[in-house]
């Protein structure tokens, strides 16, 4: 996205305008639609997962929307003059901010928990991107990482909680869930789990103890971000969720103690740290944390009939905290003031600024005449009520009182340094603040004053947006003057106490450094790569052979334990037959393989085993397999012999007991598997099916072949593709130049006699192969065996004869040969698709097996095997005998 520089400087106004539009719509909605009914909207999204894209506009949603859009207008306006519009990153800033506003609106209006979660996550991502807006600064990167990690942990917990709710209640619609409650009942484990998971999500998002420490660090973000995301809206999303699901948990016995304890600890820690922090933005961040604690506790201690006045507290907080953040941002720009102690005498230099500052501080402290006072009066009233009614609430009362004391103290601290403190340092105003920058805080603090003097406005606000279930049904009453009562006395005491507290601790300003948990978190996060590296090095090795040991260990543990514990369906017997003799031979040869150390000796043993296996197949009445095994054995021997030409044998003198143990137990484990073919009864029937239908359905008397080319033709197609892949990989690994795959002769065995009879042998082999191919359908043989036979004889011939005269070998490109085979096989499939309505559904002309697609398919296999195997053998021969060749 390329924007001209001039446009960039209007982006903020443009965004403010769009926010204003939203604000207008929300206001219209509140005044004209809301007083009658909540509005629902729903579209199916993933019905099987209970996910509908459903929206709900009720009082709670509209109140938060009003807050989001209203603050949005002011923050965008402020940002337009605050942010450096010549910065090339500015467009991303507005992009993220607008996305954030949209996601917040989506979150508060969604009526489906998963849709809500989606928007919730987007706000988290935007927060991450905005905190790291100055990503060239190390601290911005660290802070954004911390915020993202912590909120993500919470989000994951919330997601799990949402899924549990979905499974239990069979719905994710918030309106339905809150009506039904958690169906498993309030004493069940699931109720408790959901409560904890939701609370974790809320606590991370709304910076509650013990997750609060990311919020002060997030103050490295540009000031509009701090004012908007990290005080006015995003951190309140947790509060919003709590208000939404409040009715779900209110009956739980642990709810009250858990929520109030956490939130009270947060209130006290936040207030305490705000009193000792020195950086202005940090003071405000800690104040926000403390205030969020208040909000959360409000829902924790609310009685089941409902609560009241929560909107007034939230509204009040948005008014003064937004204003204060913007003012602090102006100070940082105009006079480079970032610490509270540098404030002294600022009122002489910036008078208008100072008036707004003083009003905002007054609203924070709760001075009569501001909304803060009303908010505090209501809180004090609640506290007194709680104290009278519930003795259990003593802890909460203490917490709230302490929190309010701290609040007065840190508010007064700001006031003290700005207006009473004499600063020795000279304040230097580099640049008079643009008046446009002062408009948003001016508006906010005026609202704080107007509503402070006219409580009826707040009352209306509170009543318009109250919703059923959450709020008390009786109308809220807010008044400026209640007469001389205990409430007033408590308020006055709080004021006096707060100011005294400030004077008492004025000199301990460095104390809060010890309480920065962020540094411990960062230490842990920085250590994580080392720890995981250490853990990896324990189990993982760069040597594949070492890793293989783990594979074998798990094979033995998993399969072996099953073998030991399962019932065996097959019993051992000592019957001795011809096959047993062969088995003894195999055992002896295999053991010889173990003790012969020379590769040549090992090769001889291996070949012996191969040919014994061939006999084994013969005795097991598997002639097709025996033929193929024999031919493949020859080809394998060929490859091994060639390999031994090239490789320099080395002795491995290391004795390795682990290797032997793994091999021993691995062998025993795998050999025990046949004990469990108890399920073979079904397999018998399957085999019987092929035996009986081979001739009638596939026109072939050899069921092994008909399975390959007819019944399971598609599988075979896959298998011959594997052979092609193997042949091409061999060529790719070993061929240096881009040369055609044509067999050249190397007269390695230039015996005159062999050379003389080779053409005859080759011709005989070819005829025999064709014979194998043609008879395959009814008798042992087939494309695989025939193809192997041709390939072996061709390569052998090329090694005996000086000049190639064998058929077309000197001109035939093997690549085309194998591809031709594959195409032929595919072609047979296509014919059958057309003629008998299904891929590989065999088709015959006049019920003759040789005129059917299965034979065409077998022919394809034949050609493909010739091409691939010849290519493999030839390429390996070229590579190993290159020196001999030259």
């Amino acid at each position: 996205m390329l924007l001209p520089k001039r446009t960039q400087s209007y982006l903020g106004l443009l965004s403010a305008f769009s926010a204003l539009l939203c604000f207008g719509i929300v206001t219209h909605f509140s005044l004209n639609v809301l007083p009658f009914e909540p509005v629902y909207f729903s579209v199916d999204w993933f019905p099987m997962g209970y996910v509908k894209f459903s929206l709900l506009a009720d009082g709670l949603a509209l109140f938060f929307a009003l807050l989001i859009t209203g603050m949005g207008v002011l923050v965008f306006y402020y940002a337009n003059f605050f942010m450096d519009s010549t910065d090339s990153k500015i467009k991303y800033f507005y992009c993220y901010m607008n996305l954030f506003m949209g996601a917040m609106l989506g979150a508060v209006f969604s009526n489906n928990l998963l849709v809500f979660f989606l928007f919730w996550e987007i706000t988290g991502v935007m927060s991450y991107l905005l905190i790291s807006y100055h990503y060239e600064l190390h601290e911005a990167r660290v802070a954004s990482r911390m915020a993202f990690l912590i909120t993500s942990i919470g989000s994951l917990c919330l997601l799990v909680g949402i899924i549990i709710v979905g499974v239990l209640d069979q719905t994710l619609e918030i309106a339905e869930v809150t009506q039904r409650g958690i169906v498993s009942g309030e004493h069940s484990f699931w109720f408790f789990a959901v409560m904890i998971l939701f609370l974790t999500g809320i606590a991370t998002k709304s910076a509650q103890y013990p997750f609060y420490f990311w919020l002060p660090e997030a103050m490295t973000a540009p000031t509009p971000v701090s004012a908007y995301l990290h005080s006015a809206t995003m951190v309140k999303l947790g509060v919003y969720l709590l208000a939404r699901v409040y009715v779900l948990f209110i009956d739980g016995s642990l709810w009250f103690p858990l929520v109030t304890t956490l939130s009270m600890v947060t209130v006290i820690i936040g207030g305490f740290l705000a009193l000792f922090a020195t950086s202005l933005k940090r003071i405000l961040a800690y104040a926000t944390i403390s205030q969020l604690g208040f909000f959360i506790s409000f829902y924790g201690m609310g009685d089941p009939e409902g609560i009241q006045y929560d909107y007034i507290h939230i509204f009040n907080h948005a008014l003064y905290k937004g204003s204060l953040f913007m003012l602090v941002g102006i100070l940082a720009h105009a006079a480079s003031i970032k610490e509270v102690t540098q404030l002294g005498g600022i009122y002489k230099k910036l008078p208008i600024f100072s008036v707004i500052f003083a009003v905002s501080i007054a609203a924070m402290a709760g001075v009569p005449g501001t909304t803060g006072f009303l908010s505090k009066e209501l809180l004090v009233k609640d506290v007194i009520l709680l104290f009278k009614e519930e003795p259990v609430g003593a802890f909460v009362v203490m917490g709230l009182i302490t929190g309010l004391l701290f609040k007065v103290a840190f508010s007064f601290r700001l006031f003290y340094y700005a207006f009473l403190h004499r600063n020795e340092q000279h304040i230097h105003i580099q640049e008079r603040p643009n008046f446009n920058l002062l408009i948003p805080p001016l508006l906010l603090s005026s609202f704080a004053l107007i509503f402070g003097i006219w409580p009826g406005g707040l009352e209306t606000l509170s009543n318009i947006y109250s919703i059923e279930g959450l709020h008390k049904q009786e109308l809220a009453e807010v008044a400026l003057w209640h007469g001389f009562s205990i409430n007033l006395a408590v308020s006055a005491c709080l004021f006096a106490g707060g100011i005294l507290l400030f004077y008492g601790v004025k000199h301990f300003i460095t104390l809060h450094e010890k309480f920065r948990f962020a540094q411990y978190w960062n230490f842990i996060v920085d250590q994580l790569p080392d720890w995981s590296g250490w853990l990896t090095s324990l189990v993982h090795s760069q040597n594949p052979q070492k890793n293989l040991r783990w594979v074998f260990t798990f094979l033995i543990i998993l399969v072996g334990s099953t073998v030991v514990y399962l019932d065996r369906s097959v019993v051992l017997n000592f019957r001795f037959s011809l096959i047993s003799l062969l088995e003894v031979f195999l055992i002896v040869t295999a053991l010889m393989l173990l003790f012969v150390k020379q590769p040549v000796g090992q090769l001889i043993c291996l070949s012996l085993i191969g040919f014994f296996v061939t006999f084994y197949f013969v005795l097991k009445e598997a002639p097709d397999v025996a033929i193929t095994q024999m031919l493949v054995e020859v080809a394998t021997l060929f490859v091994f012999v060639l390999l031994l030409f090239k490789i320099k044998p080395q002795r491995d003198k290391k004795t390795d007991p682990i290797r032997a143990i793994l091999a021993l137990f691995g062998g025993l484990t795998v050999a025990s598997l046949p004990f469990f073919n108890g399920g073979i009864a079904e397999g018998d029937q399957l085999g019987l099916f092929y035996l009986q239908n081979s001739l009638s359905a596939a026109l072939g008397a050899n069921p092994v072949n008909t399975i390959l080319v007819d019944f399971r033709g598609l599988d075979t197609l896959g298998e011959i593709s594997v052979i092609i892949v193997s042949a091409l990989s061999v060529a790719a690994l070993l061929m240096k130049r881009k040369e055609p795959l044509i067999v050249h002769n190397i007269p390695l065995i230039p015996t005159p006699m062999l050379r003389a009879i080779m053409p005859a042998i080759c011709s005989a082999a070819l005829v025999f192969s064709l014979y194998l191919l043609v008879r395959g359908h009814n008798h042992p043989g087939g494309g695989f065996a025939g193809g192997m036979n041709v390939a072996i004889s061709l390569v052998l011939a090329s090694m005996c004869m000086r000049k190639s005269r064998i058929f077309l070998m000197d001109r035939l490109n093997l690549f085309y040969l194998m591809m031709g085979g594959l195409l032929l096989a595919l072609f047979s499939g296509i014919i059958s698709t057309i003629m008998s309505n299904g891929f590989m559904n065999s088709y015959y002309i006049g019920h003759i097996s040789l005129l059917g697609t299965p034979f065409l398919f077998d022919l394809g296999i034949f050609v493909l095997i010739i091409g691939s195997v010849t290519s493999i053998l030839y390429v390996i021969r070229e590579n190993t005998l290159r020196e001999v060749n030259r």
Partner: protein
């Protein structure tokens, strides 16, 4: 199942695994060849006589397994030849550093 069959399978697999776990390329290759033979023998044991002949399904499975086994062995042989291009040494390097040397 006959005791001899059990011992044979255990021996073939055991020796095959032992070779596969070795430090020499050629050993590993021999181990793979031996193990694929052993697997085929294991499979043929599920081929029992049914009415009218021998169960053809395991045989069809083994037949393709043999050919694919050859494809695997030749691929691994080509891989070895590619690895030992310059040194012709038969030892699998323990680490990447050792491989570079």
């Amino acid at each position: 199942m006959s005791v001899f069959t059990f011992i044979m399978l255990a021996t073939l697999f055991g020796v095959g695994f032992y070779l596969i776990l070795g430090r020499r390329y050629i050993e590993v290759l021999f181990g793979i060849a031996l193990t694929s033979n052993a697997v085929n023998l294991l499979l043929i044991h599920s081929s029992q006589s049914v009415e009218g002949g021998v169960d053809p399904l395991p045989q069809a499975l083994i037949l393709t397994a043999i050919v694919i086994g050859f494809g695997l062995i030749s691929f691994f042989a080509a891989y070895i030849l590619n690895r030992i291009e310059n040194t012709s040494l038969d030892l699998i390097p323990e680490t990447q550093e050792e491989e570079k040397e």
